[in-house]
């Protein structure tokens, strides 16, 4: 048995001895340096760009501009962003290239002999801008006379919408004994992966433009590059070396296309030198997308017995200057506004709005955290209004196998939210709460303060596994078996990205299991478009699920070939899950999701009502993973997700004002350190098999993030009697909420 064991990560040895190579560690000593120049203009039209002084700088070799990009557009789900802003574009794209809509839009890439020359060259570029009006947030974008993407033909900045129309709202309200309304503001969040963006690019031995970078989907990077450069796909190669964290933040393009364009331009001039690029932390934070800001209102009606009978909600998602994956994030947010509950009458309206601010995009949870925050806050408030137990009211409303989802089609089998809640409540001894509140002293060094109030809160969630809404999901694997009489070794080739979560180790474990040999006989080749078929991205809690099914198929093919006498025996398989469909524009009906994961959390907090500090004692997380392929790695995902959710809830405050990020540093944007986290994280792994998961496995890496913020809010309410409907809850905001500090602007 290899599946189900705590195999050590295959890359762990290299990582503890300093031998793992990240994209910033790869460049040859004679590599040229590429400096990406940001526009620094949240909304402006370029009137002119003069490169002459920059090209005269000693050591500057070449400058790449919009004129070098034949199809000057990119975007994971919509081509709405120019690769480079410029006045001399001859691109066929309908996206105007001369307008900067984001301070981090790229205007040029300066290629030079040294970092210093590249920087001097970048500063010597002379650009004249004509300012355009800003629409830096949802409110201003709603009434702005200015359209950020007039090329899309729409009459407002709202460019994507979803609806749910289920049941009969009047009938629902008529049944309601209580009605609870809330208005919530969700903040940005920065990924803050520890490895800033970096890449090397060159022409490889088969004349392919090759980019080595940290990303989440090699084949999508390859496609985006080929599209923008208007070249055949197989002339581009993308390789991922070690990746220093991702969390969704590397799902979109940063250096991919511009580095390929740089190499292409040099190659055309007969220069075949490697090019390297490295962003500093400020460029990283300013220069990639964020978890979305959102404004959401909700109105819920419930009977005296605690049955939710009506849900009305409206959500506006700040997409920022470009779509990135906002339309998909919106879909998830939209569906999570009713959570894992069976609610008869529902009306939800969700929309994505372009603004002249940092784009929102993928980040662990992908819309789930925003939507579920509102759902769980509402559920806890309804429980309070009815004087009901938060656990009991959830049990009275959760979905079961055979129920319809909010999209009015059956849930995929294996609905386990009831079990998950029960196991969580049991682990946390929900019935007799707060055994040792002294554990949760806000400032440990100060000892127990007299102004401390303690409380406990609960929340739960479901999260879709895989790309949903009709996306043509697939994942490929190649397994090769070698030996004479006996299978002596197996090799797996897979494109899936190991962003740190241990995907490659899981691939090796699953290959060993599927082939029936020990783990030490399995080797792999990973994350290179030249050696593997398309795996889809390491995102959407899909990689284990999808890769496992692809590996099972490829192993079966390889074993068949082995039995037919092939040596080596090879098997290729392309796994395709049950096809999903988009939801109906008018009603939200459809079957958008093929699998779910389920999670519940309970937290104990202490609030120092004098200082506003919050300390989390224990966080319990019960999660259904279907089958734990590697329990230790899964626990690591739970702990990491909770740490990120802790920062999201309590300390990570990104200041984005008038389209500019004001605190793009790790000293100004506070991600949790070793002493900030809960004293204890108790993980309860539950294995209710997913009927179509490999060995029953479900996706799991996003789920533990989702219930944390609303569980904390419920615990703070339990402690103080105050509901906080926006966050992060930095001490000043806590004191404001408790009425101890005048509200600041």
């Amino acid at each position: 048995m290899t599946v189900g064991t705590n195999a050590v990560k295959r890359d762990a040895h290299d990582k503890v001895v300093g031998a793992a190579h990240y994209p910033g560690d790869l460049a040859a000593s004679d590599a040229l340096v590429a400096k990406v120049v940001f526009s620094n203009e949240p909304h402006a039209r370029m009137v002119s760009m003069d490169l002459s002084a920059a090209l005269d700088v000693r050591g500057v070799v070449e400058i790449v501009t919009a004129a070098d990009i034949p199809m000057n557009e990119y975007g994971l789900t919509m081509f709405d962003q120019p690769v480079l802003i410029g006045v001399d574009s001859t691109s066929r794209s309908k996206v105007p290239s001369d307008v900067s809509r984001w301070e981090a839009d790229h205007v040029a890439v300066v290629i030079a002999e040294t970092d210093a020359a590249a920087l001097t060259g970048a500063r010597a570029i002379d650009i004249t801008w004509e300012q355009l009006p800003l629409a830096p947030d949802i409110d201003s974008a709603d009434d702005a006379a200015v359209l950020i993407h007039p090329e899309n033909g729409l009459s407002s900045n709202t460019y994507y919408q979803f609806k749910i129309r289920k049941g009969d709202m009047n009938a629902g309200w008529a049944l309601a004994d209580v009605v609870v309304e809330g208005s919530y503001t969700l903040p940005h969040q920065e990924h803050a992966y520890l490895q800033p963006e970096a890449a090397v690019a060159y022409v490889d031995e088969e004349d392919r433009i090759t980019v080595q970078i940290a990303g989440q989907w090699t084949h999508e990077d390859q496609e985006q590059i080929a599209h923008a450069l208007d070249v055949p796909l197989d002339t581009i190669r993308v390789i991922y070396p070690a990746i220093g964290g991702a969390f969704g933040g590397r799902e979109d393009m940063t250096l991919q296309i511009v580095m390929a364009a740089a190499v292409r331009k040099l190659h055309a001039r007969g220069i075949d030198r490697q090019v390297r690029a490295l962003w500093n932390r400020e460029e990283s934070i300013v220069g990639h997308h964020k978890r979305h800001r959102a404004q959401i209102t909700a109105r819920w009606g419930a009977t005296r017995e605690g049955k939710i009978v009506a849900v009305e909600a409206a959500a506006a998602l700040d997409a920022g200057a470009y779509n990135y994956t906002s339309n998909k994030v919106l879909a998830n947010l939209h569906l999570s506004l009713t959570g894992p509950y069976d609610i008869p009458n529902v009306q939800v309206d969700s929309r994505a709005v372009y603004t002249t601010s940092v784009p929102g995009g993928a980040f662990r949870g992908f819309g789930g955290p925003q939507g579920s925050f509102v759902t769980e806050m509402q559920m806890n408030k309804v429980a309070e209004a009815l004087g009901m137990d938060p656990f009991a009211i959830r049990l009275a409303n959760v979905l079961h196998d055979g129920d319809d989802y909010v999209t009015q089609r059956p849930m995929p089998d294996g609905v386990s939210i009831e079990t998950v809640l029960e196991r969580c409540a049991e682990a946390a001894t929900w019935e007799s709460p707060m055994t040792d509140p002294a554990q949760v002293t806000p400032i440990k060094t100060l000892g127990v303060s007299r102004s401390v109030s303690t409380g406990r809160g609960m929340a739960c969630a479901l999260k879709n596994v895989g790309f949903s809404m009709g996306f043509p999901e697939r994942c490929e694997a190649d397994v090769t078996l070698s030996g004479d009489d006996e299978i002596e070794a197996a090799h797996i080739a897979h494109a899936g990205a190991d962003v740190g979560q241990g995907a490659h180790t899981a691939f090796l474990q699953m290959t060993a299991e599927a082939v029936g040999i020990s783990l030490d006989r399995v080797t792999g080749t990973f994350s290179d478009t030249a050696t593997s078929g398309d795996s889809g991205s390491a995102s959407a809690s899909r990689m284990t699920f999808m890769s496992g099914n692809s590996i099972l198929g490829a192993a079966e093919e390889a074993l068949k070939a082995w039995n037919d006498g092939d040596r080596p025996a090879m098997g290729h398989f392309r796994y395709v899950p049950p096809p999903t469909e988009p939801i109906d524009d008018a009603t939200g009906e459809g079957w958008p999701i093929f699998a779910f994961g389920y999670v519940a959390e309970v937290v104990d907090v202490a609030v120092d009502t004098e200082t506003g500090h919050i300390r989390v004692g224990t966080a319990w997380c019960a999660i259904d993973v279907g089958k734990a392929i590697n329990p230790a790695l899964i626990r690591g995902q739970v702990e990491g997700a909770i740490a990120q959710a802790h920062g999201y809830t309590l300390s990570e405050r990104l200041a984005v004002v008038d389209g500019r990020t004001l605190n793009p540093t790790l000293s100004g944007y506070l991600v949790p350190g070793a002493r900030d986290l809960p004293d204890k994280i108790e993980t309860v792994l539950i294995e209710v098999p997913d009927p179509i998961g490999p060995w029953g496995a479900r996706g799991m890496a996003e789920m533990p993030f989702i219930p944390y913020a609303p569980a904390i809010m419920a615990a703070i309410h339990d402690a103080t009697g105050v509901w906080f409907d926006s966050f992060p809850l930095t001490p000043d905001r806590v004191l404001e909420g408790l009425g101890r500090l005048a509200a600041s602007e």
């Binding site: 001895v17 490895q195 964290g245 740190g500 230790a632 690591g636």
Partner: protein, 171 residues
């Protein structure tokens, strides 16, 4: 100042180097670029993340906060120099054994801070460990397994036989 070159003598992982550096060259860049020791990482260059931590004359130092010339005459240990041949240092073994890393980008810095901590006190409490690695950010693990890795290493350094996660049975 541009172009002025100074000569430094620095011992790195037991090897003496005599190098010409510019006065403004940071120690981290000297290690990574002049000596190709890329195990020491750069996460912020502003002294905040700890990914660049190395040991300078026995003390953990963020090598982005120090110029190479300030290390003239010093003895430096980086992550590449802590194993004894093929035998991992107890701290490296701890991180390997207890799943103390995910992406691994923080790991070299964490390892160096942990070594400095354990060399001062090989039996630290959990609070002391958390305090000792407070200057090192990790965005992936939530620190729990890192704390266990250091505990494992401490036990090993005290001559006890520690338990790693890979031997544990899952629930």
């Amino acid at each position: 100042m541009e172009g002025r070159i100074l000569e430094v003598r620095i011992s790195v992982n037991g090897v003496d180097h005599q190098s010409d550096v510019e006065p403004r060259t940071l120690l981290v860049h000297y290690l990574r670029e002049n000596l190709s020791l890329t195990g020491t990482h750069v996460g912020c260059e502003t002294g905040y993340c700890g990914a660049c931590t190395v040991i300078v004359d026995g003390r953990a130092v963020k090598s982005c906060t120090m110029f190479a010339v300030q290390a003239d005459g010093a003895s430096i240990q980086t992550v590449e120099g802590v194993a004894d041949g093929d035998e991992l240092h107890p701290v490296q073994e701890g991180f390997w054994e207890c799943h103390g890393l995910q992406c691994g980008f923080c790991t070299p810095g964490m390892i160096m801070s942990s070594i400095a901590l354990l060399e001062e006190n090989n039996d630290p409490s959990e609070a002391e460990i958390r305090h000792g690695i407070e200057g090192n950010l990790c965005r992936c693990t939530g620190y729990h397994n890192i704390v266990r890795s250091v505990q494992y290493a401490g036990a090993k350094m005290r001559g006890e036989s520690p338990q790693g996660a890979s031997q544990e049975v899952s629930s």
